[in-house]
């Protein structure tokens, strides 16, 4: 049955309209959870506020378990769902650069737009930087194209890499998430809360 766009239930234009509605939900939840505050976001790296950890991992395990159950009941064909390709080197290098950007800038792109739309001026400058960064990448692309496309692994899932079934992987991720949440709750008690 799903994804609806693949089974022809909805047209491309309906898909775009629904993307807008999905975006409203996405933006609302990010803002309502406090992702529009950079000091709240980076709190996770100092232990005083672990809201990022909680929201991010709860969303990931909800999505993971939800999709596996939908697939189990044949409501969605996971073979048709987009899985981001893995280019080992550029994935790792990109992750490292983004990590540095996160701790310096205090936002990631989604939260940056979110914060800018409620009037955070620092977020607006973050977005200016974001555009500049993409533009720089586009201009130096010929120089790094080889590296960008190196070590292509296809679209493996973690379960394929580990050689165990999807359900077990997601159980593992859930257990890890719960341990991290528990550590997060402990850290929030230990480190003083900041006012922002």
């Amino acid at each position: 049955m799903g994804p609806l766009i693949s089974s022809g239930v909805i047209t491309q234009n309906t898909n775009f309209f629904l993307a807008f509605l999905i975006g409203i939900g996405f933006g609302f939840i990010l803002e309502a959870s406090g992702f529009s505050s950079s000091r709240k976001l980076v709190g996770v790296f100092y232990g005083y506020d672990t809201v990022v950890l909680k929201v991010f991992f709860t969303a990931a395990i909800t999505g993971m378990v939800g999709l596996l159950f939908l697939s189990l009941f044949n409501w969605i064909d996971l073979d048709l769902v987009y899985i981001n390709p893995t280019y080992l080197y550029s994935s790792i290098a990109g992750g490292i650069i983004m990590g540095a950007g996160f701790i310096i800038g205090g936002f990631c792109p989604g939260t940056g737009f979110c914060a800018a739309s409620i009037g955070k001026i620092d977020a607006m400058f973050f977005i200016v930087g974001l555009f500049a960064g993409i533009l720089i990448f586009a201009e130096v692309y010929p120089l790094i194209e080889g590296f960008f496309k190196a070590k292509y692994l296809g679209i493996p899932t973690l379960s394929e890499i580990l050689g165990i079934k999807d359900g077990l992987v997601s159980l593992g991720v859930i257990v890890v998430a719960m341990i991290m949440f528990w550590i997060g709750e402990w850290a929030e008690k230990k480190f003083p809360q900041k006012e922002y």
Binding site: P3, L4, S6, F17, A19, F20, I22, I24, G27, F28, E31, S33, R39, V42, F45, T50, V55, F56, T58, A59, A60, T62, G63, M64, G66, L70, W75, V81, Y82, I83, N84, P85, S91, A93, G94, G95, M98, G99, F102, I104, G105, G106, C108, P109, G110, C114, S117, I118, G119, I121, I127, G129, G133, I134, I136, A138, P156, T157, E160, V173
Partner: protein, 176 residues
């Protein structure tokens, strides 16, 4: 003081937020067969701007021509652009409801607004560059990727958060 803080901020419970965000993510996959994203929309905007400003340049440079090959309807008619417009509206609505609509530069009392803005720009540049190199940002690659158990998603997540943790000590004065 804690009570004061709660009255002032009024954020929803993070676990509830996470579950709701997860449901949105499932809806995106069920309806459109893909996850959420943010940097892709910024990329569309950049490509569209460069195309308008310097059309000959986009024809010659590999990055733009590869992008246009995968987006035959033009850079702005993409799923992520519509999703991003929704995100801005949704965040604005939440800002109205929870009374958080104010123009301000949020920063640690130990640093100036100017310093905060310079750091935000540097962070933005790094994030923009990194998200292109890593083929997706925190939401597009890490969050959406993890939901479909993508190996790349877990890698992105580990390296984004790992690096930020590793560097946190050196930038502590900007935040605490």
């Amino acid at each position: 003081m804690n009570k004061n803080l709660k009255q002032k901020t009024k954020y929803i419970n993070p676990y509830l937020g996470g579950v709701l965000l997860g449901l949105v993510l499932i809806a995106a996959n069920f309806i459109s067969g893909r996850g959420l994203g943010a940097s892709g929309a910024a990329k569309s905007a950049v490509v569209a701007t460069v195309e308008t400003m310097a059309p000959t340049h986009t024809e010659n440079a590999a990055f733009y021509s590869e992008y246009n090959e995968s987006h035959p309807n033009g850079p702005l008619k993409s799923w992520l652009v519509f999703q991003m417009l929704g995100l801005i509206v949704g965040a604005f609505l939440s800002g109205i409801i929870f009374r958080r609509l104010t123009f301000k530069v949020e920063h640690s009392p130990k640093i100036t607004s100017k310093r905060r803005i310079i750091l935000a720009i540097i962070g933005g540049v790094l994030f923009g560059f990194g998200s292109q190199l890593g083929r997706g940002c925190t939401s597009g690659s890490a969050l959406s990727g993890m939901a479909v158990l993508s190996y790349g998603g877990f890698l992105s997540m580990a390296f984004i958060f790992g690096t930020a943790f590793a560097l946190a000590y050196f930038f502590r004065k900007n935040w605490i």
